[in-house]
């Protein structure tokens, strides 16, 4: 048991109590049924998606990409870092340790912010494993279209924040 897991189950219990007080057992059954409907669509594709993601961790050359970003500076560095961030495989437990490698190799703060933001919004791995099975490809196309500039904006804004506050690491 970890903190976040406890938190989500507390949320489930609170919501269940609220539903029960408003609609009684019938409401709970209806809520459970709609959860089961989605679960049924995931039965085949989720395990396959997780498997694909695990293979990708082997295939994507993380170390080669570390060299690509390095201490790069300026807008080109920010754009490169955004893309590299999007390709980082795995959840926070694999990607943040990789981010430390970049940080220690002397990358600038704006590039690092772009990298973390790129990982957050593009997340190839998360897209394949969860977003596509649940939301479908059309939603992904829309989200990608809407998110394309975000990491670059974040990098530029970080440059501004650093300039104004003098914060660094």
């Amino acid at each position: 048991m970890n903190g976040p897991l406890i938190l989500v189950w507390v949320a489930v219990i609170v919501l269940a109590v609220l539903v029960w007080r408003r609609e009684g057992e019938a409401g709970l059954r209806a809520g459970g049924r709609s959860a089961l409907d989605i679960a049924r669509t995931l039965v085949i594709r989720l395990p396959l998606a997780l498997l694909t993601a695990s293979f990708l961790i082997h295939i994507i050359p993380v170390e080669a990409m570390t060299r690509l970003v390095g201490p790069a500076s300026g807008l080109v560095g920010i754009i490169t870092a955004s893309l590299v961030g999007g390709l980082l495989p795995g959840g926070p437990m694999t990607s943040f340790p990789i981010a430390i490698v970049f940080l220690q190799s002397g990358a600038g703060v704006p590039q690092m912010v772009a990298l973390v933001a790129g990982w957050s919004v593009f997340a190839l791995h998360r897209m394949l494993a969860y977003e596509a099975p649940i939301m479908g490809w059309k939603f992904i196309a829309l989200r990608m279209g809407a998110s394309l500039v975000l990491p670059v904006l974040a990098g530029l804004a970080a440059g501004g924040v650093v300039a104004v506050t003098g914060l660094s690491y």
């Binding site: 997780l50 829309l142 975000l150």
Partner: protein, 179 residues
């Protein structure tokens, strides 16, 4: 249980990436990936179940009209702000948040609100911030990163609404059972 086109796409993806892994790294790597995927599956099950239940229960509490009014196409910036705040507060991993996006979609939220929600969850979510980013990357970097990302979910929501004018980006009605 029905096998949908998406399931076939995933079977092909798993086959192709599996073959690439085998060709380049041998059977050890394939076994390793299988074990990793299995462990991950068991690990996310409790969170996935919670996410699906939260989605299902929320649809009982909030009527379609209310969601459409607060987060629908004519909810304006307020709708995007509300969706961003909800995303920021949503705990758990993608196996919790995406079922919630799905539930909001069925309940009548527009594309802009859905994108703002998921962007806020991924960029500003408290959960990951406290568990991973602060301990691993330090307070100062995290503060800079957070400030720089603060307005992004709203921007993404606005872009999503703007993109909606082209059919390629227009979301269909949710396929209720994911046919």
């Amino acid at each position: 249980m029905k096998i949908a086109r998406t399931d076939i796409v995933f079977a092909v993806l798993a086959g192709v990436t599996g073959a690439m892994t085998y060709a380049r790294f041998g059977s050890g790597a394939v076994v390793d990936a299988l074990g990793r995927a299995g462990a991950l599956f068991l690990q996310i099950l409790p969170q996935l179940a919670a996410g699906l239940l939260i989605g299902g229960l929320v649809t009982r509490l909030v009527s379609r009209e209310k969601v459409a009014k607060w987060l629908g196409g004519s909810s304006g910036i307020t709708g995007l702000l509300l969706a961003s705040l909800a995303g920021l507060l949503t705990p758990g991993g993608p196996f919790t948040s995406f079922p919630m996006v799905y539930a909001l979609w069925i309940a009548g939220a527009d594309a802009g609100a859905l994108i703002a929600f998921i962007s806020a969850w991924s960029l500003l979510g408290f959960n990951r911030l406290i568990v991973w980013e602060l301990p691993l990357l330090g307070v100062e970097f995290t503060v800079v990163r957070y400030l720089a990302c603060l307005p992004l979910p709203i921007i993404a929501g606005l872009i999503a609404r703007w993109l909606g004018r082209w059919p390629v980006f227009r979301l269909a009605e949710p396929e209720d059972r994911g046919a």
